[in-house]
């Protein structure tokens, strides 16, 4: 009888915890402010995307503004470099961070300008790691099935910043970290190899 009761209690706990993690209102440490932050940032981005009338430089400036408002780019850059950060000189660190931000702008700014009617809805929030909140969203596209995109949000002082984006289970941070590590390794473990590659990448036709 004891075993069965244990099993029942265990099952009940499992069911309960499963329910709790699915129910955003119940996840105690999921910060409701993080969801509001993503909602606001996303709405602002879409309003700006949809404004097709604005000239390209203005759209680019808006993109940079949203990027610095919404994302902790220096943190992401440093995290992506991983263990190689400490091997880099201060000058290398500084140039790397500058190039990393340019790479992001170059990669995503065009998408921003070519916006074609995607919308998003927040499907939940859950606590992640020690202090972060994962805001799960669905990007609804005019054609094709919706895409699950999760935003890892960290609160520092009074402001929220995105520190990772997970698209259908693929972390953008992890992908870039593995990619950059591969470039450094194929250059004999030298960070200069990566910096050189980033220079070339960001110098190609301005995005």
């Amino acid at each position: 009888m004891l075993t069965r009761r244990h099993l029942l209690t265990g099952a009940a706990l499992l069911a309960f915890s499963g329910w709790a993690s699915l129910n955003p209102a119940f996840a105690q440490s999921a910060d409701p402010g993080a969801g509001a932050f993503i909602q606001k940032l996303g709405t602002e981005a879409i309003n700006s995307f949809a404004n097709k009338g604005q000239p390209k430089p203005a759209a680019l400036a808006k993109f940079r503004q949203l990027l610095s408002e919404g994302f902790d780019v220096p943190y992401i850059g440093r995290w992506v470099l991983g263990r190689y950060w400490n091997q880099a000189s201060p000058q290398q660190q500084q140039e790397y961070q500058k190039l990393f931000e340019q790479l992001i702008v170059k990669t995503y700014a065009d998408r921003f300008v070519e916006y074609s009617g995607e919308t998003f809805k927040i499907t939940g929030t859950r606590p992640e790691g020690e202090s972060d909140t994962m805001v799960t969203t669905q990007i609804i596209r005019p054609a094709g099935p919706p895409v699950a995109v999760d935003w890892r949000v960290r609160k520092r002082d009074a402001s929220y910043k995105i520190i990772d984006v997970v698209v259908e289970g693929v972390s953008m941070g992890v992908t870039q970290r593995q990619e950059f590590a591969s470039v450094i390794q194929s250059n004999g473990g030298k960070i200069d190899g990566l910096i050189q590659a980033l220079r070339q990448k960001t110098a190609q036709q301005p995005g």
Partner: protein, 264 residues
């Protein structure tokens, strides 16, 4: 008595799944892959095959996919995709059962029967109209993963593309077990089989035009980015979750206020 037995068997399944996942974790960890790296001891030959595949993509597959997406109307493309899905459904049903995922097997069976019979082999997606839930695609590589088999070395196969030891075995088993392949080879109609493979390749590629272009444009090492994506996508498919295995994001206290302002 019944509920207790049911709960016990559920609990056992959950326990078995947990153990299998933990084993899979150990198995891939044993290969010496940290969170930062995908185990790739054959990187040199892999890069060579990757470059060949990439050239084939740029010269043939991508242009064909672009023409397909640009000229064939959406309803026809959706019908093609639906027929291809219907042909693969028996494998999904089998693999779902092998993974102990009765719900997915039943959803796949429901869609398969409805679309194969009422939808004339998948030409019409009657199942969606009828509100039969969508199912997840499951293959034998994923089944092995659920059973606790580690991914082994990363592989890039000619034309088939990115894989690893586990998924290559899975691909082989799926190919051999595929009822459509068995039926077409029995009827001496290998041409039909090859047409399906070509159609599947073009259909899949045509839905990823923007994504692959973006990746090609933004990556400093396209091979490494593609490898990382594959590794993460497969792990997500095996755990049937888009939120598994999140890495740690520590604070960096020694430069909480970095004197770097990349926005200037």
């Amino acid at each position: 008595m019944m509920p207790a037995t049911a709960i016990r068997s559920l609990f056992r399944t959950a326990l078995a799944a947990t153990v299998a996942l933990a084993l899979a974790g150990c198995a891939s960890g044993r290969n010496g892959t940290g969170q930062d790296e995908v185990y790739d001891p054959l990187e040199v030959p892999n890069r060579f095959v990757f470059a060949m595949n990439d050239a084939a993509d740029i010269l043939v597959i991508r242009p064909a996919a672009e023409i397909y997406a640009g000229t064939v109307p959406d309803p026809v493309r959706n019908a093609v995709q639906n027929i291809l899905e219907t042909l693969l459904a028996p494998l999904v049903i089998g693999n779902s059962l092998l993974q102990g995922d009765g719900q997915n097997a039943s959803d796949a069976t429901g869609r398969f029967m409805t679309n194969a019979i009422l939808g004339l082999g998948g030409v019409f997606d009657v199942a969606s109209t009828a509100g039969i839930p969508a199912y997840r695609t499951e293959d034998f590589g994923q089944t092995l993963g659920v059973w606790g088999v580690g991914e082994g070395p990363y592989l890039v196969l000619p034309l088939i593309g990115r894989s690893n030891a586990r998924d290559a075995v899975g691909y082989g088993v799926d190919t051999v077990a595929d009822p459509f392949r068995i039926a077409t080879s029995a009827a001496n109609a290998n041409g039909v089989l090859y047409s399906r493979s070509a159609a599947a390749a073009i259909d899949t590629r045509s839905r990823l035009l923007r994504e692959v272009d973006d990746m090609r444009r933004s990556s400093v090492d396209f091979y490494a980015a593609a490898r990382s994506l594959y590794h993460q996508q497969r792990n997500a498919s095996i755990s049937n979750s888009t939120s598994a295995g999140t890495p740690e994001f520590p604070e960096f206290p020694e430069d909480a206020k970095p004197n770097i302002s990349p926005l200037r």
